[in-house]
């Protein structure tokens, strides 16, 4: 698949300018002309990570309801957009996530225990319980530290790409962000800089239909989110984000363009947030159940499973075995995390700077030697 300069929009490689590129239908049948014919082992690995993500999400939601963790932001329904895109990048590529993409880090080998320790903010958490749950850091996976302010990772991804361009490394960066983030300052600056400096960077726009309670028609009056690429001379494509094969094909084509020095691509991954925004959110206040049910029919996990089944590469037994194993592994991690103590109080003062300055050493001493809060943490 080749991505051309998308302006005028009708020159998009897959026909009409409004068309959403898809390979699979809801029954898991691949379009013969569009199927990227990926090795089945690869598709299986993508599928398993998607499924694993779903299993983890379901469990964490429950843990939050039980008060065992404080917060969770799930990705139910968006697993293809997240995992297949990560799979289409090279291992040396940078991923600059939003907050819903931990499955991308898992795909790259982030140990589950590390993630679960983060959910508990315990002493084994790589960031020592300093951030909220799901704000993961995974340097080994070249997965940048998750942050809450919407959009900031997008300009950073441009800077990361710029660095590899200057260092003449074969490293592309990818920023993940939501439809709401297209309204942020950083989206604007990042797209503009990427266009001008032709940085090797992908903009992976997870259009999941909602920014908390705000739907697309309140977020922008542009016809599509992909259209926004035109403002920056950045080629843009629309892709069915619930179709792992389409996501993989699109992202790997864009990655190749970037690596070849042809600059950035904006990829609108059209998907849907099946769950609440986070565990703090109650979507029944602002959206219809019917809408959710409609979208559930295009569940990316079901579609990819059916595809694998059609290829004879996955069975009900596989599903059960994998699920059981994933759940067991998860349970083990949760048990361990729940039995790991909190980070030390002294650690609260570390890593503010490379070397602790005098005022922090003094505050650390005061805090460590001072009385303890009565309220349990």
């Amino acid at each position: 698949m080749e991505i051309q300069q998308s302006y005028p929009p009708s020159a998009l490689p897959w026909g009409g300018d409004q068309e959403v590129f898809a390979v699979l239908d809801n029954e898991g049948h691949a379009s013969a002309s569009k199927d990227p014919r990926l090795p089945l082992a690869l598709v299986k690995r993508i599928y398993e990570t998607m499924l694993r993500g779903r299993i983890i999400d379901e469990r964490l939601m429950k843990l939050q309801r039980q008060g065992r963790i404080g917060f969770h932001v799930g990705a139910e329904g968006e697993e293809a957009a997240i995992v297949a895109s990560a799979a289409a990048m090279e291992p040396q590529d940078w991923l600059a996530p939003c907050y819903r993409e931990v499955a991308a880090a898992l795909y790259r080998g982030l140990p589950l225990q590390t993630y679960i320790d983060n959910m508990y903010g315990n002493a084994d958490d790589t960031c020592l319980g300093r951030q909220m749950p799901d704000h993961v850091t995974a340097r080994d996976q070249r997965y940048v530290s998750v942050t809450a302010p919407i959009g900031t990772q997008i300009t950073q991804a441009v800077g990361l790409a710029w660095a590899s361009k200057l260092k003449r490394e074969d490293v592309v960066s990818a920023a993940y962000f939501g439809d709401g983030a297209t309204s942020s300052n950083d989206f604007h600056a990042a797209m503009n800089f990427a266009g001008v400096f032709k940085t090797p960077c992908l903009f992976l726009l997870r259009n999941n239909g909602w920014a908390i309670s705000v739907p697309a028609d309140r977020q922008t009056a542009s016809r599509t989110y992909a259209d926004k690429g035109i403002a920056y001379g950045v080629p843009a494509v629309r892709c069915d984000g619930n179709d792992a094969l389409a996501v993989y094909a699109t992202v790997s084509a864009a990655r190749a363009r970037a690596a070849a020095g042809e600059g950035p691509t904006l990829i609108e991954l059209v998907t849907y947030r099946l769950g609440p925004h986070t565990t703090s959110d109650d979507p029944t206040v602002y959206r219809d159940k019917a809408e959710v049910e409609e979208h559930a029919k295009a569940d990316p996990i079901v579609r990819l499973r059916k595809y694998l089944e059609h290829q004879g590469a996955w069975t009900t037994e596989d599903e059960q075995r994998f699920t059981a194993e994933a759940q067991a592994e998860l349970k083990g991690c949760i048990d361990k995390a729940e039995n790991t103590p909190e980070p030390s109080i002294a650690s609260m003062f570390e890593d503010v700077y490379a070397t602790m300055p005098a005022h922090l050493a003094e505050q650390q001493r005061q805090c460590v030697e001072g009385p303890r809060a009565k309220k349990k943490h």
């Binding site: 909220m132 908390i212 009385p371």
Partner: protein, 324 residues
Amino acid sequence: MTQMTMVTAINDALRSEMRADERVVLLGEDVGKEGGVFRVTAGLQQEFGEDRVVDTPLSETGIMGAAVGMALGGLRPVPEIQFADFIYPALDQLVNEASKYRYRSGGEYTCPMTVRVPVGGGIRGGHYHSQSPESMFIHTAGLKVVCPSNPYDAKGLLLSSIRDPDPVLFFEPKRVYRALKMDVPEEDYTVDLSSAKVVREGEHVTCVAYGAMLFEAVAAAEEVKQQGIDVEVIDLRTLWPLDADTVVESVKKTGRLCVVHEAARACGLGGEMVAEVCEKAFLHLEAPPRRITGWDTPFPYTLENEYLPLAHRITPALLETARY
């Protein structure tokens, strides 16, 4: 009188002012259909429509820039920033625009608006849902900064803020939102801006606090009381312009000062207050004025109760100050 939480009291204030003054318009992320992520604006879009309670795109720059324009155009906008942590994209409009409009136009243009900002820790929000950036706005001439500690003051201060001819940053301590209920009149009343309140009289130490930490200061005061130390606790309520008189008068009486805030210490309001008191009441000071504040680190998640200047940290400071 009705028993209200701070959430209900603010909602009530907004509702009554929107009924009374059609220039009042709310705008922000998720404030309309959802009624705000903290439900502070719940029901208002139903009553006043989508034109006056506006769900905006995800841009604090847009929210604040539009609000400034609305204010110039004769409305009384009440923009909401979903969390104080997300106010930085709006800083240019606040620091370079809203705060300076009256001054730079010789009074030809003014910018009356009230920026509602949930603030502070105590809800397990970590770095990005716990910050207390009020000192940045205090540092900016032309802005007023308010932070109520309880439902009654919240309603009265909010009504004063919306009616004020200048831009007001109205910080709402999230930790207090639903923590207590108290009697709040249903009718209209205001609490003056720039009037601190002595919430507890005492003669040994003056303890100044605001927002959620007020309760910690009071708790600490109760605790040291058992050791015979009488703490005068002052709730600042309006952080800027500062009601220095109330603080200075109290220090002249007690000779001792502790300032409490959860914002980081460096260049926080505590230092400002210590310097102010030194300038105005130096010879009355019988002990070094103390600050009990958030540490100079980012706000942590797991250890937030070690970060916050809760009663357990205020108590020894009061004792040491009293016994100095």
